[in-house]
């Protein structure tokens, strides 16, 4: 149990530290790389909870998919010597006020709510078959309608991307 706790604190420290570095660094690609570390450490938290499916989804979707897309677009658009401009003073003040307000709200909710430790911890094995059947189920807890809606949205987005990227036929 102590090792688990130690890993939890280690991963949390990595997440917090790199989250701060993501928004304070002046170089765009470094921000993306720090974000990658945050996302990988979050996957580590899921592994710690023995929820391997979500951890692998986190790695494929966020670390392997979204961060790669972000890095790809930075590679195409920005030069290595480019730096972020320092935000103006009033933006900093607004940011600081939002930060203090947001974090006090979250902390207040967390500290005021009473977490009850379950007397008997029943470990639920996350079966792939259950996830698959619920995702495509029409009955109770079935997700087939959102699933299909998202598919249509993705299909539309893909067609739009192809139409935009398609070369215009030569007019003359």
């Amino acid at each position: 149990m102590t090792l688990n706790l130690l890993m939890f604190y280690l991963l949390s420290a990595v997440i917090l530290g790199f989250s701060v570095m993501t928004i304070t660094t002046g170089k765009m690609l470094r921000a993306a790389v720090y974000l990658l570390f945050v996302l990988v450490a979050t996957a580590g938290l899921y592994f710690l909870l023995n929820y391997e499916f979500l951890a692998a989804v986190q790695l494929t979707l966020y670390a392997g998919g979204i961060v790669v897309l972000i890095i790809f677009s930075i590679l195409l658009t920005s030069h290595i010597s480019q730096r972020f401009e320092r935000p103006s003073a009033w933006k900093l003040w607004i940011g600081a006020i939002t930060l203090i307000g947001g974090s006090t709200t979250v902390l207040w909710v967390l500290l005021s709510s009473h977490f009850e430790k379950a007397a008997t911890v029943t470990e639920l094995p996350v079966d792939m078959h259950v996830i698959g059947e619920q995702l495509l189920g029409t009955g109770k807890n079935g997700y087939v309608l959102p699933f299909e809606l998202i598919s249509i949205l993705l299909l539309a987005a893909m067609i739009v991307a192809i139409v935009i990227a398609k070369k215009e036929k030569n007019q003359n």
Binding site: K27, L29, F53, A56, G64, V68, I80, M128
Partner: protein, 362 residues
């Protein structure tokens, strides 16, 4: 007998029991982590050296040459001599590069392949981690490697590196789809993503035989797409020597270059091992249905021999591609994936799902 060549679980169980009786459980767990890590590191380094030697020998045979033959018997120590040379080379700092990302990139590439190797079942009872989503985990962590390649190309601040990295990124992202779909066909047939269950499901025949022609088609798609995923010829435009010097690792020298080199060969090994495990039965000996006597005879060959035999067979196929086919252009490469392989693997997946539903496989 502790070292049972047919099942390694007695050996690993004995080590686990011995450590737990000698010290506190948490210390034993920690020590086991260290032991597994060191074993994998040594395995990784030795296998990398051997694969480089093997590639040079296979290339030489295909080109009607002898290959390395001066250092050691049959040139076996040649790659060790190369490694010592690489270790002693100067690490050249690049003036206008982003130093942090430049130094980080080789580690991301090598850690991604190192994480993937941990889930491979090497023999009966010899697997470091047996997740219930094993194959998905391998896909997830191996997709991190491309980030290292992209970072290496950009942070070098050189146009050759950047072009190489962009090509590599486009290639890996596209071909990942076909790799995933071809692996999915075996997941559908065996009904599990756990690598040990997939191996067990092939106890009465390997999926490439049991799954008819469709499983064979997905094996071929897997071979093509994973060759592209590992940036190897004929899909090696990311480091096309004749146009881009060395692609994304142009600016690297010494041990950092060796990291990219090693990771590339280990990725080839991982891909071959995954192909061998899913399609060719992994460590499972060649069993045919209910031919009990034949199966018993096959069981005399240890599982670790079967695993490495099949893996090196797939590695040989991949090397054969590289030294036979000329390099593709980038538009040919993307056309091949998006216009041919992806539709084919989509249709193949649907057909596999259909025969799995109807039970039309052995």
């Amino acid at each position: 007998m502790i070292l049972d060549i047919y099942s390694f679980s007695t050996l690993t169980g004995a080590i686990d029991k011995g450590l737990n009786s000698a010290m506190a459980p948490w210390l034993a767990t920690l020590l086991e982590f260290v032991i597994v890590g060191v074993v994998f590191l040594i395995f990784y380094a030795l296998l990398g050296l051997f694969l480089v030697y093997l590639e040079r020998k296979v290339c030489a045979v295909i080109q009607n040459r002898i290959g390395p033959n001066r250092v050691g018997k049959w040139g076996l120590l040649q790659t060790i001599a190369d490694l010592i040379k690489l270790l002693m080379k100067e690490l050249i700092p690049i003036k206008n590069a982003d130093g942090f990302l430049f130094n980080l990139a080789p580690f991301i590439v090598i850690i991604a392949s190192f994480m993937a190797i941990a889930a491979l079942p090497f023999a009966k009872g010899l697997q470091a981690m047996d997740f219930n989503i094993g194959i998905f985990y391998v896909m997830a962590v191996s997709s991190l490697g491309v980030i290292g390649i992209l970072l290496a190309g950009w942070s070098s601040n050189s146009k050759y590196s950047l072009i190489g990295a962009m090509r590599s990124g486009a290639q890996i992202i596209s071909y990942e789809l076909s790799v995933g779909l071809s692996l999915l066909s075996i997941v559908i047939l065996s009904g599990s993503m756990q690598l040990s269950t997939i191996v067990q499901s092939q106890a009465d025949g390997w999926w490439i035989f049991k799954g008819h022609i469709l499983a064979f088609i997905s094996f071929v798609i897997f071979l093509i797409a994973s060759t592209a995923e590992t940036n190897r010829g004929p899909f090696d435009l990311a480091e096309a020597e004749s146009e881009l010097t060395a692609g994304f690792h142009t600016e690297y020298s010494g041990i950092k270059f060796a990291f990219f080199f090693l990771a590339e060969y280990m990725n080839m090994f991982i891909v071959a091992a995954i192909g061998a495990t899913l399609f060719l039965g992994g460590w499972m000996p060649l069993h045919i249905g209910h031919w009990q006597e034949f199966n018993n005879i096959m069981d005399y060959i240890p599982s670790v021999v079967w695993f490495f035999g099949k893996t090196f067979f797939v590695i040989y196929l991949i090397m054969w591609f590289k030294w036979t086919f000329p390099r593709l252009r980038i538009d040919q490469l993307l056309n091949l994936e998006w216009k041919y392989l992806l539709p084919l693997s989509l249709i193949n997946t649907v057909l596999i799902a259909f025969i799995a539903l109807m039970g039309w496989y052995f």
